[in-house]
């Protein structure tokens, strides 16, 4: 049974050192919960971007919360480079586990199947392979006639998946709509923590139209209400991004002193609920 709780409580359920899966911008980035994590001074997170990161990943890096990062790319999109990420990498403080988007999807899909790996075509010849000793090249075991190298991607099993979505019901079922990557994340992770815009009255599985986009409470450890929980990012179909806030963040992310000032104000501002 899923627990209904608060955003701060959700943050306290993510221990230091957790392998934490985070969704890409626009698809339900749990920014309210991220701010709560920074407030509680979480440390040594091992982030898995699904499959890319933006302000959320950049903030966590800048706030000193991240020990490892597996990603296909981190950027602030229209607002330019992710300054804290770039600073951490060029200073040597962080060496990301470089990936490519479909490999992260494949790793999570392997985990949800309980399989050790999934094979993927492509990638051969990319320098990513040189720096990912955990990605292996095997010969296609089904090809008896020719050499046929294939990359295998090991299962990715995050300790925790954290995301935001539109609504959850009393029982803790959550409606993700067409954001199916959230379902894959939840299936792959040991625990799933969700923040939601609002409570759905009734049971989401009673309406067939909603049931198809619903993740069962079976997978959900805790849910917390967080209205506008993606802000300053937008949430597709719900609200747009706060352009001024994102522009201000992009600027702050590119200087050590500017970021320190930003972080102090951001972390201590009252939580939006």
């Amino acid at each position: 049974m899923t627990t209904w709780t608060t955003v701060d409580e959700v943050a306290s359920m993510i221990p230091d050192g957790s392998a934490l899966a985070l969704i890409r911008d626009g698809c339900g980035v749990a920014m309210s919960a991220t701010r709560a994590l920074i407030r509680r001074r979480v440390r040594d997170l091992r982030l898995v971007n699904v499959p890319t990161g933006g302000i959320q990943t950049d903030l966590l890096i800048g706030a000193g919360c991240v020990a490892e990062l597996e990603t296909s790319g981190v950027s602030l999109g229209e607002y330019g480079p992710a300054g804290r990420f770039a600073q951490a990498v060029t200073s040597g403080a962080l060496t990301p586990k470089e990936a490519t988007c479909p490999a992260i999807h494949a790793g999570l899909q392997a985990a949800e199947k309980g399989a050790p790996f999934l094979p993927l075509r492509g990638i051969l010849g990319s320098d990513i392979l040189r720096f990912r000793p955990d990605w292996r090249v095997i010969n296609n075991p089904l090809n008896d006639t020719a050499e046929d190298p294939v990359v295998v991607i090991p299962a990715i099993t995050p300790d925790i998946a954290l995301f935001h979505c539109a609504m959850a019901d009393d029982a803790g079922n959550v409606w993700v709509g067409r954001e199916r990557d959230l379902i894959t994340m939840a299936h792959a992770a040991r625990q799933t923590l969700v923040t939601v815009e609002r409570l759905y009255p009734g049971n989401l599985f009673d309406d067939p139209a909603l049931a198809a986009g619903t993740l069962s409470s079976f997978y959900v450890t805790a849910v917390a209400p967080a209205a506008e929980g993606c802000k300053p990012l937008g949430f597709t179909g719900h609200y747009g991004e706060d352009e001024d806030a994102l522009r201000a963040y992009a600027k702050a992310s590119r200087g050590n002193a500017e970021f320190a000032t930003y972080l102090a104000a951001y972390a201590t501002a009252p939580a939006a609920v």
């Binding site: 890409r24 626009g26 698809c27 699904v50 499959p51 890319t52 990603t71 296909s72 790319g73 981190v74 950027s75 999109g77 229209e78 480079p81 992710a82 990420f85 770039a86 990498v89 060029t90 040597g92 060496t95 990301p96 470089e98 990936a99 490519t100 988007c101 479909p102 490999a103 999807h105 899909q109 993927l120 075509r121 492509g122 990638i123 051969l124 010849g125 990319s126 320098d127 990513i128 720096f131 020719a146 050499e147 046929d148 190298p149 294939v150 067409r178 954001e179 199916r180 990557d181 959230l182 379902i183 894959t184 597709t236 179909g237």
Partner: protein, 244 residues
């Protein structure tokens, strides 16, 4: 002679490279490629399908972010666009960083889907509006995606052309080299040679990049402009004269 601006030239030029495709996908932050794809759709009377990431009215995907990659893996996408922090003469692209990886001195975002899509999609168009020897280098510092593969490696796709603010190159996957095909109006071969960091061949029929005709310009400034304004209002206003 009809007047046109630089962006209109690039849109019309890339649309010619997309002619005959069934399904073009366009990544985020790509107003010029997205406009070229929409122009192709109109010129094909709708026979070409266009998917624009981040534009819900121009995507049919309902199975998460993985569906784009699954589509590409099955051969359901014919054309796509990549930029590149660095692009070298062998068609390798670097989206990771400049310098001796992992100690990059400049860090870009990351390889994103390139290490997969570059092998899956037949017509990858490399697009860099700035034609700069620091971008068009002899050898990339990090291969996000390789331009060619050795025999025996399964591969359907790869670089097809490179369009810059100065010229159009075609890529020969057998030779693993670019051939300069046309130079944009006002550009010269010596200038292209001076500003391209890698060696390339020159087509025997090297020409000036074809200017967009009146019908093409009218589509760009009309239906394409209005459609692209939904995702890129600033670009549509400033480059194509579409009122908000």
């Amino acid at each position: 002679m009809t007047n046109f601006n630089h962006h209109e030239l690039l849109i019309a030029t890339m649309a010619r490279l997309l002619d005959g495709t069934r399904h073009i996908a366009v990544g985020v932050s790509s107003p010029i490629p997205a406009s070229a794809a929409l122009l192709t759709r109109h010129q094909s009377n709708g026979a070409t399908r266009v998917s624009i990431l981040g534009d819900p009215s121009n995507t049919f995907w309902s199975d998460g972010g993985k569906e784009l990659f699954d589509c590409a893996a099955q051969g359901r996408i014919d054309a796509f666009f990549f930029s590149g922090g660095q692009i070298d003469g062998a068609g390798n692209i670097n989206l990771v960083g400049i310098g001796d990886y992992p100690r990059s001195t400049v860090r870009f975002g990351g390889s994103y889907g390139s290490a997969f899509l570059y092998y899956m999609i037949p017509r990858i168009i490399l697009f860099r509006p700035d034609h700069d020897p620091r971008v068009l280098v002899p050898k990339v510092d990090f291969i996000s995606a390789a331009g060619t593969s050795p025999p025996g490696v399964w591969r359907r796709g790869g670089p097809y052309a490179l369009v810059t603010g100065k010229a159009v190159f075609h890529f020969d996957s057998n030779e693993g080299r670019f051939t300069l095909q046309s130079v944009h109006p006002g550009e010269t071969l010596p200038d292209i040679q001076a500003t391209t960091g890698f060696a390339f061949d020159v087509a025997p029929d090297l020409s000036e990049t074809e200017s967009p005709d009146a019908a093409t310009l009218s589509l760009i400034r009309g239906r394409v402009g209005r459609e692209i304004a939904a995702t890129y209002p600033k670009f549509a206003r400033e480059s194509l004269g579409i009122a908000a």
